[in-house]
Symmetry: C2
Amino acid sequence: MAKIAKKYLEVNPWIITEKGFHPERSRVSEAIFSLGNEYMGVRGYFDEGYGGDRLVGSYFNGIYSETDINHPIKFKGVPEIWHFMVSAVDWLYTRIELDGELLDLNQSKVSDFERTLDMKTGTLTRQFIWHTQSGKQLKITFTRFLSMTSVQVGFQRIVLEALNFSGPVQVTSALDFSPVHEEIHNRSYWTVEKTEHRGDFWFALGKTETVEQHLVSSFSLTADCEYVSKDIKDDKLFGTQLEISLEQGRMVTLDKRVCNHADKKRGSDGDSVWEAGVALAETFRELTFDAALAEHVEYWEKLWKRTDVVVEGDDADQQGIRFCIFQLHQTNHGQDPSSNVGAKGLTGEIYGGKTFWDTESYCLPFFIFNNPQAAKNMLMFRYNTLPQALRIAESRDCKGATYPMESLNGDDSCVVWWHGNLEIHINAAVIYGIEQYRRLCDDNDFFYDYGMEIILQVCRFYASRGNWRPDGFGFYGVMGPDEMHTFINNNCYTNTMAKKGFELALAEIEKMKAEMPEKLLKLTDKISLSSEELDEWRKIADKMIIPKDETTGLFEQHEGFFKLPHYDIDSISQEEIPIEHNWAQTRRYRYDMIKQPDVLLFLFLHSSEYSDAVKKINYEYYTPRCMHESSLSPSIHSILAAELGKHEEASAFYAYATRLDLDDYNRNTHQGLHMTSMAGAWLNVIYGFGGMRCDGDQLAFKPSMPKKWDSLSFRILYKGSTLCVKMDKKNITLSIDQDEPLAVEVFGKSIELTRQETSIPMPADRCA
Amino acid sequence: MAKIAKKYLEVNPWIITEKGFHPERSRVSEAIFSLGNEYMGVRGYFDEGYGGDRLVGSYFNGIYSETDINHPIKFKGVPEIWHFMVSAVDWLYTRIELDGELLDLNQSKVSDFERTLDMKTGTLTRQFIWHTQSGKQLKITFTRFLSMTSVQVGFQRIVLEALNFSGPVQVTSALDFSPVHEEIHNRSYWTVEKTEHRGDFWFALGKTETVEQHLVSSFSLTADCEYVSKDIKDDKLFGTQLEISLEQGRMVTLDKRVCNHADKKRGSDGDSVWEAGVALAETFRELTFDAALAEHVEYWEKLWKRTDVVVEGDDADQQGIRFCIFQLHQTNHGQDPSSNVGAKGLTGEIYGGKTFWDTESYCLPFFIFNNPQAAKNMLMFRYNTLPQALRIAESRDCKGATYPMESLNGDDSCVVWWHGNLEIHINAAVIYGIEQYRRLCDDNDFFYDYGMEIILQVCRFYASRGNWRPDGFGFYGVMGPDEMHTFINNNCYTNTMAKKGFELALAEIEKMKAEMPEKLLKLTDKISLSSEELDEWRKIADKMIIPKDETTGLFEQHEGFFKLPHYDIDSISQEEIPIEHNWAQTRRYRYDMIKQPDVLLFLFLHSSEYSDAVKKINYEYYTPRCMHESSLSPSIHSILAAELGKHEEASAFYAYATRLDLDDYNRNTHQGLHMTSMAGAWLNVIYGFGGMRCDGDQLAFKPSMPKKWDSLSFRILYKGSTLCVKMDKKNITLSIDQDEPLAVEVFGKSIELTRQETSIPMPADRCA
């Protein structure tokens, strides 16, 4: 747990600022200063090129390539194709030349460097003064944003100010398809099939290797000065070179409006994508930087108004949680149901842009409470990929549908098959998410039109994947969320969550029988569900084996866990951490230590069903055994600690949750942002200190205040209303923005909320 | 168990004959008609080339190449290099042309085809009459043998007889380095660096890719006729083309003497290998086919006299067991301690020529009783690769030495890391082998000079690999011989065998303290063995956890095995078998069925320590759960069944043991012969029906007679003496060939054997 911050950014509630360029943090900054709008994302790399260490990451949601996994031996049910989101066109491509010297912060002399991400407006600005070898001083300011309202559009503004000279400068602006995918062969996966300079527009059509998706990128330039230009082109680059005459003291502004049209269809037809891309660019012909920015800022203003979390008393925490919220919105704001939420969002290539089980278990709650459309889209991604989930189940000799542990397009793409094939708990998280979304967002249409089909096919999978023995039903040869134990039997988390899934399916079928028999008939016909299957499911739900010490209430993470040799995790040195990389592969599988919470997770997810006593004994048993080798781990511990009144532990586990990336605690932010951890940080604030629970009949709150905070306020969307929560060390105050009262629970008592604020005193034992 | 024979060979006690060419069995025949002499081996491919399906396999023990395994993700302790024995020079290369027609049994018309392997003399003969398109008839006879006395030397004789014409025939004879390794990229791994025709010799120097070992192959020709010749050469081939004038009715004989000098050294110096190869060839200048054959046949005669097993009453069984013995001798006859015994010997490329754990557990006993020098060499291979075993242990975060599950040169080369890293039981088999060899061959020098160092380093490994928990010591996250359960804890076989290893180490250290204190000091100094370690080992041996139902004596294969769901293996259809290939990869790991014996194996290996009652209850529990998906499986079941008087089961399990390859029961003989199964078949006869046990203080016999056999006789070497055993349904008769009497146990009673035959009546209940 002794992770150490690497601080270099200014602390400010709304702004992330890097003062002075930190080349040794070049990639970390690229990740932190990432911008995105779900449709596309760019790392905060330097527009003008950079000869130092950098990763030009420009990503489009769902645009990828694939490669053979080349397993030394092939096995049935083990995927053979690896998918990876490719770095696409660098549409910010710029080169600036003065007196024959090319601007490159790795070589050039610069002063007054400042890079600023304004989270309120979703804009990135970078400025510095370039001191050329010829003695000239040119102040340059780059600004970029990716429109949240017209998601195919991105803008770049370059402002040039000659401080001590007048004369020509060469600026090259282009579309560059040469950025590489470092992890897989360190090369570009694009072919540029066509380019054209037509009127004000430069167009380029790129095609991804193997998957053969097409992307039309285009740009137009506006400058408030005279220039001469000539087009430039090579096999992966197309654009223009301007010669601009600068006058001392006069600022010149060059705006680049980019329109990207990415077609996710496999093997799409280049000609028709080209035509659609050209037509789309035309529709934005009149859109100026300022007009687009105004719309963009307005969008963010509204979003912040609805979803801000305000922490008083600690600016670093305030900045941290806002950064998490900002990045989550950038990754998904509900614009396309075929988007997924990758583990690193659109901020890096590691994990291949793929979505994992934590999409539902960690990210979905954030969107449920902050952007229901985005939440719905995440579940539509699962529905849309149900055909693949059915195929995966079949490939593993099972019935029904099982979702892939790691996927970009719905296919299983997990190279570590002993995770991918065994972590069947992902399906239970999908069911949990569907049920949560339905209940919290009041969306029964989605539930019965799409959700139930997923739920039934997953139950069918579970019934075929599990086995009976005399004392009940269970799952054998699985892996729980705690990936430090593999090929285990009757994992508590998996069995509990699956049991809940069966119970939900059966209850909803009864409900449909009574309330919508025709819909039920259509559904059961569609998937050929028999009453024998339902009888079997009833038995399964009833007889699911959940290993547990009945006298103490201590769950056994899986059968045999209590008999594993004990390892004192405090004896593990810093050099050994993460043991996932520093220990021999098989060594970590043999002790009673865990990577991340497994029992604690279902105690949290189904919080209302477990007593404080049960939570306490399990928390106290598993916490000292937890290595937290997943960034998802501390938040769950913090939430449980807060609930149990272990305030110091709650704060300690929270310590870096919101600033994991800003302060690079894990030393791998350069690879991209930990998107699901950011969702975990939000959970940590809202469920931890906010003490919110949503698994019962009513929303419930049992807040607590960390010592260093003066107050915490947040808003969430709940069944169409906005719920405002404010708390300090004296009171918790709640209100809603609708006329109809809403019943919630605070400290175990039911309270009717109205537009009027209701205050409840904060008990002394809930403050650290 | 319902495996079905595919018979096409003649049944004869000493001869394997294929009458008429069976092209659809081309590769099966290549494997069955393999010849070898430990140093090298050749499949029974056609000397003259063949356009049909074939695998030109010409192998040299320890000559290999390597390739990156290309794991999608690298893990610590998981090997990254895959080694594979490469097909080397085809030194039998021959092409025959008549009237412009090239002989090729895939195209040409032939009659009277007969291929004959004479196991008594170790020679392969093939003859047929070629009917050319021009109407000519040429009778051709090929004979080959690989000298058992001059192992670098192989001979080929071609006899040509023009039946209805006189005229010229073209015969090409060469050294061809172009044979491919099919499994890895289907190409040759050789570069020919130098060729020379010097006097009577043609020489070629080849080098393997990556490993850069060198091989000098050379040949000379002798013909009893006139001919003209010209040399031929391409980048991988060197030789000569003869034009011979045939006369109707006169046989022409062409002898090719080949001398191969293979240097196993990695990155050997081509020039010096060349010189050594040239010099070696010179030493055989005067060796004729007939003289070499005479020596070779004499060698085999002596070998058979010492090691034959005679079965009366069933010629197919007789032929089968002789074939096993013949092939085992061909694979290893004690000529080089750096040779290993590959799973397929030198008869195919599958398994890469590598040695596995069954080398000690299955093959070693055969050599102990039939060729002690060969047995010693197998253990010297382990001693010589101890440095690698130490490195492997270190790479897995352990101390001491652990042997690789799959190895060609001592390095771990197992691509399925969840086998290679987890099957630590291999080390216990090495210890068991060392102890058996010492005791049965009376070789204390080897034991104390080499064996003990291995034993101590393995114990050290086990001590660091295992863990303590309150009730004792055990191994967690392992795999037993039964590979249908992985990442299991306290596998009975592994724990029992390791416990025995510790006990042996400790007892021998005490013995050395008393009898050879200086040697002990030198050894403990060499490996820095401390008394604290020995104290720890004592505790480990004492407190080793062996899961067992104390009331019934039923061992639990590993902790939790009894709680696994039951699978009725009789419900598995033929199409599903082998489930290793037909079931989804993770499916086979979740039931109470096993691949091969695991508990039964240690009950057999330490037979004297377990009562019949314990053997019976375990046999009856595990046998109906065993899939026998290893060819090593039925023999152990048969041995236990015979011991327990379950004669019908013993015969049923034995049914195909000796003819697994001759009748291609597993349908994969084309890949090469199942060398360790052949050793298993020998065990099945000697330990099963012979009822021999050698783990107690005395050799013990408790024979039984299968219904269809009239008698069984065998000879074994035991402590320098030859022990003759004959049995029929009336008596078992034993004698030795030395003056000093030898005490053995027969049916539980100690008996003194002498040169005089001793007969003991066979109890009625020991005959089926």
